[in-house]
Amino acid sequence: MSQAIVRVEDLHKTYGETDVLKGVSLEVDEGEVLVIIGPSGTGKSTLLRCINLLAYPDRGHVWVDGEEITAPHADVNHIRERLGMVFQDFNLFNHLTAMGNVMVGLTQVKRMPRQEARELALFELERVGLQDKADLYPAQLSGGQKQRVAIARALGMDPRVMLFDEPTSALDPELIGEVLEVMKKLAREGMTMVVVTHEMGFAREVSNRMIFMEHGVIVEEGPPDQLFYHPQHPRTGEFLGKITELYGHRKREEE
């Protein structure tokens, strides 16, 4: 197989009567930042969840690092360690400190000795700029800080790929920046990332490739310049026009 770290083939998923995914295929290469955009309810989040099997696809296959996660006897828990996931609503473990949130996966899943786990957790918190908040509990952190802890928690597991599911959608506008900064830094460090987002500024600045999804299928796929300035599909242009209008004025002039 080629360089693809994640390969998705013909994914189908139905919730009740609704076909959320209707045959989605894609590949993510090492070091690539892939941004997925599209109207809500078009299967973007479901696609991410199918990649680490938090949702089980009805049909289709997913390979991570050459191993098929959808194979009948795949060691799903083990493969998941290689996929960091960041959620829209953070989902920090409420009973653990920032440090504890990062440590628990290291000690329980990776069976790392506590002292080593503590050092690594502190390193990851430093990476997201929160080493001084290590002893605070989620309820004592702001939304932006919570999301950065969630990123540190995912990074601690040393993933090959990071999946971001609308990481800034639940944040107050003034807190979005700090989370995007951390994500940009990760991208610069060469982390492979799949990002579902409405942050078009981030998409244009950081992504190597974009996917526009609607009604459970990939409508258009290409470099950001193509989607922003020469969309091949009329719906892509329409959607991007609407969303840049909605989400502020990070237009061409900025560059």
């Binding site: 828990n77 998941r80 960091g84 605070l136 597991m157």
Partner: protein, 238 residues
């Protein structure tokens, strides 16, 4: 004064022993209740359908029948089953239980059914996102339940659980029916000996009240100690 002292000397040795029995029966039954109730709750929320049904059957059976019936079935009914087993050449003697063991079992299994529902409510109050995030970092379902869901759910269940403790200390008194010499049984015994029901019953009632108050205070302290920093802001004191 002398009268009071005489009264005290008359009742104390008996009541003292009774208090110890009541506390022991309650403690063992509560522990057994946790040992059955917690797995039953976890099964009811997370297990495959047949295990879930088993858990529901247990809960409904013990919640839906009178405690007294359960006590009698365990104390007087099980030996009959044992007798039957012996007739078929199987060991059955073990089903003949001491009265105190029957008391532990009946109260424990009964309490377990109620505790299971307290725990289930608390588990379900923990958002699905917690489980999802735990699975996303590679935890198994069991690891996620043990390390992420239960530490939060048990904190939530603590007030209801305190209720169960208070209930148990008082309602463990049904065991006097199978001649377990608990606090109330001792009181009855003293009444039948000296015939002064009101004083004795009031004293016994006051002792129960004192025990429950002490327990409630201790549990309140435990609750405060386990409280998650930052969370108290969300339940602003009124």
């Amino acid at each position: 004064m002398d009268g009071l002292l005489a009264f005290w000397n008359m009742i104390w040795p008996g009541l003292g022993k009774g208090i110890l029995v009541t506390l022991r029966v309650s403690a063992v039954a509560l522990a057994l209740g946790v040992a059955t109730g917690l797995p039953a709750a976890v099964m009811r929320v997370y297990a495959p359908r047949w295990l879930r049904r088993l858990s529901i059957a247990y809960i409904e059976a013990f919640r839906g029948t009178p405690l007294l019936v359960q006590l009698f079935v365990i104390y007087y009914g099980l030996p009959d089953v044992g007798f039957l087993l012996e007739r078929w050449g199987l060991p059955g003697q073990w089903l003949v239980l001491d009265n105190i063991v029957a008391a532990y079992l009946a109260l424990g299994l009964n309490s377990g059914a109620y505790q299971a529902e307290y725990f289930r409510g608390a588990i379900q109050a923990i958002g699905a996102g917690q489980m999802m995030a735990a699975r996303a970092i590679g935890m198994t379902r069991l690891q996620a339940i043990v390390h992420i869901v239960l530490p939060q759910a048990l904190r939530l269940a603590l007030p209801a659980w305190t209720n169960e403790v208070a209930y148990m200390v008082k309602y463990s008194s049904v065991v006097f029916i199978i001649a377990v010499p608990d606090l109330l049984a001792r009181g009855q015994f003293i009444i039948s000996k000296y015939y002064n029901p009101m004083e004795i019953l009031l004293t016994v009632g006051a002792v129960y009240l004192a025990m429950v108050l002490v327990i409630a205070t201790l549990m309140g302290r435990l609750e405060r100690r386990l409280r998650i920093p930052g969370m108290e802001l969300e339940v602003e004191r009124t």
